[in-house]
C-alpha cells in the first residue's frame, strides 16, 4: 500500500482474536458496510461480506483453504486478493481489508471515508500514531 493510501485509512478494533473461532467466519458492521472476518490460525483475513451474485453472506461460508465459498450458490473468492476463483465468480473481485493483531485485539484497516462509526460510542480507532500499535507481529494461532 502506498503512502497516500496509508494516510487515508484508519485501524479499527473489531474483536478479541480468541472470539473468532478457527476457520469460521464472523461478520462485523462498520458504518453501513459489512465485512466478513476469518481466522485462519496463522492469519486473519477480512473481505467484503456480500457476494456480488445474489448478496450471499460470505461470513457464513465454508472455507476451502484460503478461499471462501458463498453459502447460497457456491461462488468462491480468494481471501487474500478478493478475486473470484471458480468459473461462476471468475470475473469478480471483492474488496479486502488489511488486518493486524495487537495485544490479542484484531484491527482492520478501513478507508477514512467509510469508517463511519456512528452508533458506536467511543470506538477504538488507531490513526497510525502508534497509540495501539507495536511493530511486533503476533501469531493468532491458539
Amino acid at each position: 500500500m502506498n503512502h497516500a493510501a496509508e494516510e487515508n485509512r484508519v485501524w479499527i478494533a473489531i474483536a478479541r482474536a480468541q472470539d473468532l473461532p478457527l476457520r469460521e467466519g464472523r461478520v462485523v458492521a462498520i458504518g453501513d458496510r459489512e465485512i466478513a472476518v476469518f481466522n485462519l490460525g496463522e492469519r486473519i483475513f477480512a473481505i467484503a461480506n456480500h457476494c456480488p451474485h445474489k448478496n450471499g453472506p460470505l461470513a457464513d461460508g465454508m472455507l476451502s483453504g484460503g478461499v471462501v465459498v458463498c453459502p447460497l450458490h457456491a461462488r468462491k473468492f480468494d481471501l487474500e486478493t478478493g478475486k473470484g476463483t471458480n468459473a461462476l465468480s471468475a470475473e469478480q473481485c471483492l474488496e479486502t481489508f488489511p488486518s493486524r493483531l495487537n495485544g490479542g485485539i484484531v484491527f482492520l484497516a478501513i478507508s477514512k471515508q467509510s469508517a463511519t462509526t456512528d452508533g458506536i460510542p467511543n470506538p477504538c480507532l488507531d490513526h497510525g500514531d502508534g497509540e495501539f500499535w507495536n511493530t511486533q507481529s503476533e501469531n493468532v494461532n491458539r
Binding site: 473489531i14 480468541q18 445474489k54 450471499g56 465454508m62 476451502s64 460510542p121
Partner: protein, 819 residues
C-alpha cells in the same frame, strides 16, 4: 496355490528320506511348499518354537494396529499340514544338532533323526546395551506373542517409547499410537530408516510421522531404563530422560545361527550358503534370514522365497538352479505413510547420476539413482504408486536412455488397461509372495478366478503387504470380462480416496477429527465438498463419539437452521408424525409475533416453518418455542409423515400415527448421508405417501410392508419392498436395520433411492433383514450407540458447541481495548 499340490505318495519299497525342518516361519514353510512341488519321497517333520501356525510375519504391524486379527495373517492352515502329511511339532524348540549322528534334540527332551536337515531359524532381535533393559514393561516386537503382549499393555493415554527408527520400530510406533498410546520414537542415527532412505527422504518421513502425532527424537543414544520394579523413564546419553510406561526395543535383527554353530557349519554373520543354497555340511541346508549368501544377510521376504525355490531343487536331487542374490526392496507398512526403497540409492558412489523430485507441501519425495543408463536405486516417500515400475527396471536392468524424460512421471496413457498390458508376463506383481503377471493371468484363465478374494486364495497375490492390490485389480479388470471394480470415485482432490477406503482408513487408524484426517491423508486444507463428507463419516463411524469441528460443517449445521436467499433463516420445530397441540401452536404464534416473522407456512412434511428469522435471534427463538429441532436444515433425519390410521380413519387397519411417532423418536437427531424422509400409512390408500419416502411403512390387514428407496423430488421413484412383517415392533426393527445399513454404506450425498439402485435391493435385503441375527444385532448396537450420543441440536442454545458459537462481533470501544 496356482497349481494343485501333488499328492505325496506313501513310501514304497525305497525308504522315504527323513527331512527335518527347524523353523515354522515364512522361510521354512515357503521352502517346504517348493519342495513338495518336486513330489519327493520325503517324510517331513517341522519344528516350530512358537505355538502358532505359519503366519505372515510382515503383517504383525497390521495386527498391532488393529487392521487385522491374528487369524487373518495365518498363511498355512492346519489342513495344509495334514493334506501334505507333514508332522508339525509346535512349541518345541530345537536346542541341539548332532551332525554326525544326524539327530536334533528338542527342549522337550525328544531326539529326532534326520537324513536331511533344513535350518530356517530366522533372526533374533538385537538388544542394545542399555542398562536395565530387561525391566518389566520393556518388549521386543518380533513375533505374534510379542504382539499380543504389546496389545495387552497398550492403552489410551499411556506413554510408549520405541527405541529404533527403522522399518519395524516405526510400524510398532504407529500400531501403539492407534491403540491410543502417546508414542515417542528414539533413534540413534540422525535419519529415520537410514538403511533405506537418504537424509532428505528421512526428513520427509519424520515430518509425516510428526503429523501423525508421533514424536521423533533423532541422533539420541538410549543408555538406561529407569524405574522401580517396572519401567518409568528412559534415559539418554547426556543425562536427559523422558517418561515411559512401555518400551519397545526395535534396534534391528541378526541371524539366529545358534544351531548352525552346534552343527559345526561355516558361519560368518549368518550360516554361509553357496549359490545352490548348500552349507558346509552335505545334508544340512539353511534358508531365510539365518543365512548369509555372498556376504549378504537378508531381512526381507522376497529373498527367502527365491532362496526357497533354489534350495527345493537342490535338496530334492534336482540341483541346477542357482541363487544370485536379491535386490533389496522394502516398503513401510503404515497406512497413509508411503515409503519405498530399493537398490543402491547412494548417488555419491562410483559415478552414479541422480534424478530427484520434491514437493514439501504434498510431502512427496522421489529420488532415482542411475548408473550406465540403468536404474541403480529408488527412494519414494509420499507416493509409491510407481514402485512396481522401478522394481521391474531394477530386476530387468532395463536401459533407460530412451525414457529419460519420463523417469519420475510416466506419460499418462489414454488407455487405462495399457499400463498393465505393457507389463511383460514375467514381471512380478506381488513382491511379497513372488507372484508374476503371468501366474495371475493363468489363474484367471485356467481356474476361473474373477475376484480379488479368489485371486488371493489361488495365487496369494496381494496377501502380503497389500500394496499391489490396485495392480491386481487392474489385471482382473483387463482380463476378466465381468470384473467390477469396487467404487473408485474419490470425494475430491483434497483427499483422493474412494469413500469406502476412507471409511476403512478412519476406522482402522482411529482418526476422530476432520482436520487430523486432512493433515495426514489430504492436503491439510479441505474444501466445501470433503469437509462435510468427512464430518459425516466421523460422526457415523464413531457413533457420535468424535471431535466435532463446526468449521467443517455448512452454516446450517453451525446454527441449526436453514439459510434463505436473504441470509435469514427458516426455523422448523419437530412435530413428530405431524401431530401437534394447541399449546405448541400458541407458542409458535407468539414467536411469530415477537420476532415479526414475515411468513409462517405449513410445509410438505406436516410441520410449521417460521421463515425470515435473523441469525442473532435463533437461540432465543428456540427457547421461546420450547420444542426440539426438526432438523429441517441438515443431511439427517427429517421427519415421519403419517396419516390418522386406526385412531380416527374409517379405513385404517394399522395405528400409523403412533407407529410414525415412535419411528421418528427412534431415529431423530441422527445424521444420514443425505436428508432422510419417512412416512407411515395405516392402509394401502397411502394418504401420507409412504411409498415415495426414503423409508416407508405401509399398513395392511395384519401386517406391515416396510419399503425403502422411494423419492418424490427431482426424481420420482416408487419405493422397493424390503420385507413384510406382522408386528409393529418388527416393522420398526426392519426400518432400523436398513437405516443403519444405509448410514454405514452409502456415499455422502447419496439418497436412499440412488443407494438402493446402486447396491441392488436383493443385496440390501441379504445384508439387512435376511442377515444373520448377529449381523443385524451389530447394526442395531451401533445405531443404539449413535442414538445415545445424539441430542436435540437446539439445546446448544444453553450448552454451546464452542464458546463463540453464537457470539456476534462489532467494533470495539476504546475502554474495552484498554483494559
Amino acid at each position: 496355490m496356482s497349481s494343485p499340490l501333488p499328492k505325496r505318495e506313501s513310501p514304497g519299497n525305497a525308504p522315504a528320506t527323513k527331512l527335518v525342518v527347524v523353523g515354522n516361519g515364512m522361510a521354512g514353510v515357503a521352502c517346504v511348499e517348493q519342495i513338495l512341488r518336486h513330489a519327493p519321497k520325503f517324510e517331513i517333520t517341522i519344528f516350530g518354537d512358537e505355538t502358532h501356525l505359519n503366519y505372515n510375519r510382515i503383517l504383525l504391524s497390521s495386527v498391532l494396529a488393529g487392521e487385522k486379527s491374528p487369524d487373518d495373517i495365518v498363511l498355512n492352515g492346519r489342513d495344509w499340514y495334514e493334506q501334505n502329511k507333514i508332522d508339525l511339532k509346535l512349541g518345541v524348540r530345537i536346542i541341539d544338532v548332532n551332525p554326525i549322528a544326524k539327530t536334533v534334540t528338542g527342549d522337550d527332551g525328544s531326539t529326532t533323526s534326520f537324513d536331511k536337515l533344513l535350518l530356517a531359524t530366522g533372526s533374533i532381535p538385537i538388544i542394545p546395551s542399555i542398562e536395565d533393559v530387561m525391566k518389566d514393561g520393556v518388549f521386543v516386537f518380533r513375533n505374534l506373542d510379542d504382539t499380543r503382549s504389546l496389545l495387552q499393555r497398550a492403552r489410551p493415554g499411556i506413554k510408549a517409547v520405541v527405541i529404533g527408527g527403522g522399518l519395524l520400530g516405526l510400524e510398532a510406533a504407529r500400531g501403539l499410537q492407534v491403540q491410543g498410546c502417546e508414542v515417542t520414537v528414539v533413534h540413534l542415527m540422525d535419519t529415520l530408516m537410514e538403511r533405506q532412505l537418504d537424509p532428505a527422504g528421512g526428513n520427509y518421513l519424520a515430518t509425516k510421522m510428526n503429523s501423525l502425532g508421533i514424536t521423533v527424537l533423532l541422533d539420541l543414544s538410549t543408555t538406561a531404563v529407569l524405574g522401580n520394579g517396572k519401567v518409568e523413564r528412559v534415559q539418554f546419553k547426556g543425562g536427559g530422560s523422558i517418561p515411559a510406561d512401555l518400551v519397545v526395543v526395535a534396534a534391528g535383527i541378526r541371524p539366529n545361527v545358534e544351531l548352525g554353530h552346534k552343527a559345526r557349519l561355516e558361519i560368518k554373520r549368518g550360516i554361509v550358503v553357496n549359490d545352490y543354497m548348500e552349507t558346509s555340511h552335505p545334508d544340512i541346508f539353511a534358508v531365510g534370514e539365518c543365512v548369509q549368501h555372498n556376504n549378504i544377510c537378508y531381512g526381507l521376504v522376497a529373498p527367502l522365497l527365491e532362496q526357497g525355490k533354489v534350495l527345493a531343487a537342490t535338496i530334492t536331487g534336482n540341483k541346477g538352479p542357482t541363487y544370485q542374490g536379491t535386490i533389496p526392496a522394502s516398503k513401510l507398512k503404515i497406512m497413509g505413510v508411503d515409503v519405498f526403497s530399493a537398490g543402491d540409492f547412494n548417488e555419491k558412489a562410483d559415478g552414479k547420476e541422480m534424478v530427484r523430485y520434491e514437493d514439501p507441501s504434498q510431502g512427496i519425495y522421489k529420488k532415482l539413482t542411475l548408473k550406465n543408463g540403468k536404474l541403480a536405486g529408488a527412494i519414494l516417500v509420499g507416493d509409491t504408486s510407481d514402485s512396481h515400475r522401478y522394481m521391474e527396471w531394477l530386476r530387468s536392468e532395463t536401459d533407460l536412455t530412451s525414457m529419460r524424460r519420463q523417469l519420475l512421471f510416466p506419460e499418462p496413457s489414454a488407455d487405462m488397461g495399457l499400463d498393465v498390458a505393457q507389463m511383460p508376463d514375467g514381471e512380478t506383481v506381488c513382491g511379497c509372495m513372488g507372484v508374476t503377471k503371468g501366474t495371475i493371468i493363468r489363474a484367471i484363465h485356467d481356474k476361473g478366478v474373477s475376484t480379488l478374494a479368489q485371486l488371493k486364495e489361488c495365487t496369494r497375490a496381494s496377501s502380503g503387504c497389500g500394496s499391489c492390490t490396485s495392480l491386481c485389480q487392474q489385471l482382473l479388470k483387463a482380463v476378466v470380462p465381468e470384473f467390477e471394480e469396487e467404487s473408485k470415485k474419490v470425494i475430491c482432490k483434497c483427499i483422493p480416496f474412494a469413500e469406502g477406503n476412507l471409511r476403512e482408513i478412519l476406522r482402522s487408524q482411529q482418526l476422530k477429527s476432520v482436520q487430523q484426517v486432512l493433515e495426514i491423508y489430504g492436503n491439510g486444507l479441505g474444501c466445501e465438498i470433503c469437509k462435510p463428507a468427512l464430518s459425516y463419516m466421523l460422526d457415523m463411524l464413531w457413533c457420535g463419539d468424535h471431535e466435532e469441528d463446526r468449521s467443517a460443517r455448512f452454516i446450517n449445521d453451525r446454527v441449526h437452521a436453514n439459510i434463505q436467499k436473504d441470509g435469514t433463516f427458516s426455523v422448523i420445530p419437530r412435530m413428530r408424525g405431524g401431530v401437534t397441540s394447541s399449546a405448541e401452536l400458541r407458542r409458535i404464534a407468539d414467536v411469530a409475533d415477537k420476532y415479526h416473522v414475515p411468513m409462517v407456512k405449513v410445509t410438505g412434511s406436516q410441520r410449521i416453518d417460521l421463515l425470515g428469522i435473523k441469525k442473532a435471534d435463533l437461540p432465543q427463538v428456540w427457547a421461546d418455542l420450547g420444542m426440539p429441532s426438526g432438523q429441517a436444515y441438515t443431511k439427517g433425519v427429517r421427519m415421519v409423515k403419517t396419516c390418522v390410521g386406526t385412531e380416527f380413519c374409517r379405513f385404517g387397519v394399522q395405528d400409523s400415527t403412533n407407529a410414525g411417532i415412535e419411528l421418528e423418536r427412534r431415529f431423530e437427531n441422527l445424521f444420514t448421508p443425505h436428508k432422510l424422509k419417512m412416512g407411515v400409512v395405516g392402509c394401502p390408500r397411502n394418504c401420507a405417501e409412504a411409498t415415495v419416502k426414503d423409508i416407508g411403512l405401509v399398513g395392511q390387514e395384519g401386517s406391515w410392508q416396510v419399503v425403502v428407496g422411494g423419492a418424490a423430488g427431482k426424481k420420482v421413484r416408487k419405493a422397493d419392498l424390503l420385507v413384510t412383517v406382522e408386528s409393529t415392533e418388527h416393522a420398526l426393527e426392519a426400518a432400523a436395520v436398513f437405516f443403519q445399513y444405509y448410514r454405514e454404506n452409502a456415499n455422502y450425498l447419496e439418497r436412499t433411492y440412488d443407494f438402493v439402485e446402486r447396491v441392488g435391493i436383493e443385496k440390501v435385503r441379504k445384508d439387512t433383514v435376511y442377515a444373520t441375527a448377529a449381523a443385524k444385532q451389530d447394526l442395531l448396537t451401533r445405531l443404539r450407540k449413535s442414538k445415545e450420543h445424539s441430542y436435540d441440536a437446539w439445546l446448544e442454545r444453553e450448552t454451546l458447541n464452542h464458546p463463540t458459537q453464537f457470539l456476534q462481533i462489532r467494533p470495539m470501544k476504546k475502554e474495552e481495548v484498554l483494559i
